[in-house]
């Protein structure tokens, strides 16, 4: 789950960030995919919704997320995701490395501009 990988493309980068965003959203409270999507859409992180589901499933499979079914009025049942303990720890780690990364990247970009 390293954010930086030499092979990473732009899409990979965004996906890494996407992971962080999803976990952050869930850290504020349980949500089902549509809610997550609505929040992400405002931040323009999700281009197409279809990509979100594989990611959620993967996070769930690696134990960072858990879910429960909830009935909805008139609609299909909703899958509410929440952060697990593991997920919370992971999020903290991720947030730290993200801050570091942003600092490193910013300084690198800045110094690049100066040169």
């Amino acid at each position: 789950m390293e954010v930086i990988n030499t092979d990473n493309t732009k899409a990979q980068m965004r996906k890494g960030v996407l992971e962080l965003c999803i976990l952050s959203i869930l850290s504020q409270g349980d949500a089902y995919p549509t809610e997550i999507i609505d929040k992400l859409k405002t931040s323009k992180l999700v281009v197409v919704e279809g990509t979100l589901y594989p990611l959620l499933t993967r996070l769930k499979n690696s134990g960072l997320l858990a879910y429960r079914w909830e009935e909805s009025t008139g609609g299909p049942p909703r899958k509410y995701y929440r952060l697990t303990e593991l997920g919370e720890n992971y999020l903290k780690e991720l947030q730290n490395s993200w801050k570091e990364l942003v600092n490193v990247v910013n300084t690198t970009i800045e110094s690049g501009k100066k040169l």
């Binding site: 092979d7 995919p33 549509t34 281009v47 919704e49 279809g50 990509t51 959620l56 499933t57 299909p76």
Partner: protein, 560 residues
């Protein structure tokens, strides 16, 4: 007005227009195809379906109750096109999977509706074999000269090969690699499979159910094997019959070019039309069931469920037509043979003790007629033919062999009875034909000279015309049958039960019990040739009076 389909997405029922359904179905299939290779693919797809259900539901209200194509397209745009999802989701592994899939492209045989002359069979085969359609068509065309073989082959293929209806089928027909762009189109045909699979995942299956499933699946496997075996047998039978059938067609076409066959059909059938109809009827009556056998066999063998109702009905209709034509021709032809006329002449014959019966040979009789096939006729008659056809200036003349019978006279004198027979549609026409038979004989003191053959009038049809001479021989009188009447002898009863041809060159006396040979050696009388090793024979006892031979065999041989 549009047709709607009712579908169930994540437990929500939607009424969806057909085109929209197709679109959604192919989209979900494409997704399923893609996610099938990733971990928890089913779950991801289930989540996506839930979201799609939600998106579609948003567009519905009390005024709008049906999902249309627009809604589906909107949902797909929101979810993202398959390419986008795949690109976004792409990792080394997933990419490898799609590549692998490309390599596993399998060509499938379809009829090609986009490039068809008749049913798209040829271009379908060409696509399958990856060759130019021209070659297949050329091959089909050449096969026409083998008794129209390709017509039947084409018909069968037309029936059993399904048409490529969907883009996916067209893709796999052309064997085009299923690229990301093609995925959505290429797997429509798996829709059914998807449905059943999804139906199962939502079902809770307990143990007893599983056992039941296993049991029924093994039973169905056995049934499957039997069905296929049965199909194979039917197919082989059909193939065998087809070969016979083609052989017969070839035989007929070869025979058609021979003179004598042509003449026969000319002289039997009332018109050329009747003959043509008879052939057509036979081709249909035997052809259709053979095709049906092969069709059914292939369908069973390869478990093809596709069936073309229109073609099935046409085949049935064709067959019934064949039977109607056939019965029409048969009835018409039988009618021509329905009435018989017999003309009888009786002449008293006086001679000394023995009457020498000879014949004027056919060659001699027909010589002055200068038939164009003179030699053929003589040849045929020498081989014992009963009828043959003479040709002269394209006109045909039926020639038949005179029949000779000898019976005991009821009085003291000998008579010769000449019977002219013919059949036809009416009694009158039959007697007309019988009267026109040309036959003659001469009787001198001790000899009776009969014409070996009789001839019918030119262009008279063959209606089993016949001339029969019955010599009513007075008791005590004798006849000598010359060698050249041997083929004329027709079932003459005699005491020694000598066969007709063997009666020639002998003297026959009318005794109290019937005709008896007066100069036959015993070896000639016994016509049953039995090969017996002489060492097996103990004794041979010949009773000349009874004309029987008793052979005593060794005990061992008797036991055998």
């Amino acid at each position: 007005m549009n047709k709607t389909v009712t579908i169930n997405i994540s437990g929500i029922i939607f009424h969806i227009e057909e085109d929209a359904y197709q679109q959604l179905n192919s989209y979900l299939n494409a997704l399923k195809n893609y996610f099938a290779k990733t971990e928890s693919g089913d779950e991801i797809l289930q989540d996506i379906e839930i979201r799609i259900a939600e998106l579609l539901q948003k567009n519905l209200n009390s005024n709008k109750q049906v999902i249309v194509l627009l809604d589906v397209n909107e949902a797909i745009t929101t979810m993202g096109k398959i390419e986008d999802i795949i690109n976004e989701n792409a990792e080394g592994e997933a990419k490898k999977d799609t590549n692998q899939q490309n390599e596993h492209v399998k060509r499938r045989l379809f009829r090609n509706p986009d490039e068809k002359a008749i049913g798209g069979v040829c271009s379908g085969i060409a696509n399958y074999l990856n060759i130019d359609t021209v070659w297949v068509r050329l091959a089909m065309f050449l096969l026409i000269f083998f008794g129209g073989l390709s017509a039947w082959i084409y018909l069968i293929l037309w029936m059993i090969i399904p048409i490529a209806k969907t883009t996916a089928e067209k893709l796999s027909m052309r064997g085009e690699p299923i690229t990301i762009n093609n995925i959505s189109k290429s797997i429509k045909d798996e829709a059914q499979e998807l449905k059943t699979k999804y139906g199962n995942t939502f079902k809770k299956s307990d143990y007893s159910e599983r056992i039941k499933n296993n049991l029924s699946s093994s039973i169905s496997t056995i049934a499957n094997i039997f069905t296929r075996l049965f199909g194979l047998i039917i197919l082989m039978l059909g193939g065998l019959l087809l070969l016979t059938y083609i052989g017969t067609i070839l035989g007929i076409s070869v025979a058609n070019s021979s003179n004598s066959y042509y003449n026969w059909r000319q002289i039997i059938f009332d018109s050329g039309k009747q003959y043509a109809l008879a052939i057509i009827a036979l081709l249909i009556i035997f052809g259709v069931p053979i095709i049906t056998l092969i069709y059914g066999g292939i369908k069973l063998l390869f478990k093809i469920k596709y069936s073309n109702r229109w073609l099935n009905l046409s085949l049935l209709f064709l067959w019934i037509t064949g039977i109607i034509i056939g019965s029409f021709v048969a009835l018409n032809t039988l009618k021509d043979f329905s009435k018989e006329s017999i003309i009888k002449e009786t002449k008293a014959i006086s001679f000394g003790d023995t009457l020498y019966i000879k014949s004027v040979s056919a060659a001699e009789i027909i010589k002055p007629n200068n038939y164009s096939n003179h030699e053929d006729i003589v040849d045929e008659l020498e081989r014992g033919a009963k009828y043959c056809i003479a040709e002269q200036n394209n006109k045909l003349e039926l020639i038949g062999r005179t029949e000779l019978d000898i019976v005991e006279s009821e009085s003291d004198s000998t008579y010769l009875e000449i019977i002219y027979k013919s059949k036809s549609e009416t009694k009158k026409a039959a007697s007309e034909l019988a009267k026109k038979i040309k036959f003659s004989y001469t009787q001198n003191t001790n000899s009776l000279l009969i014409n070996e053959i009789y001839a019918c009038t030119q262009n008279n049809k063959f209606r089993t015309q016949n001339v029969k001479l019955i010599l009513k021989l007075a008791k005590g009188k004798c006849v000598y049958l010359d060698e050249n009447v041997k083929y004329n002898i027709s079932d003459i009863d005699n005491i020694s039960k000598t066969l007709d041809e063997d009666m020639a060159k002998h003297y026959w006396k009318m005794s109290n019990d019937g005709l008896i040979c007066t100069n036959c050696s015993s070896s000639e009388k016994n016509n049953d040739s039995v090969k017996i090793d002489t060492s097996d024979i103990n004794s041979i006892k010949v009773d000349k009076q009874l004309h029987t031979t008793t052979i005593q065999l060794n005990k061992e041989l008797r036991d055998k």
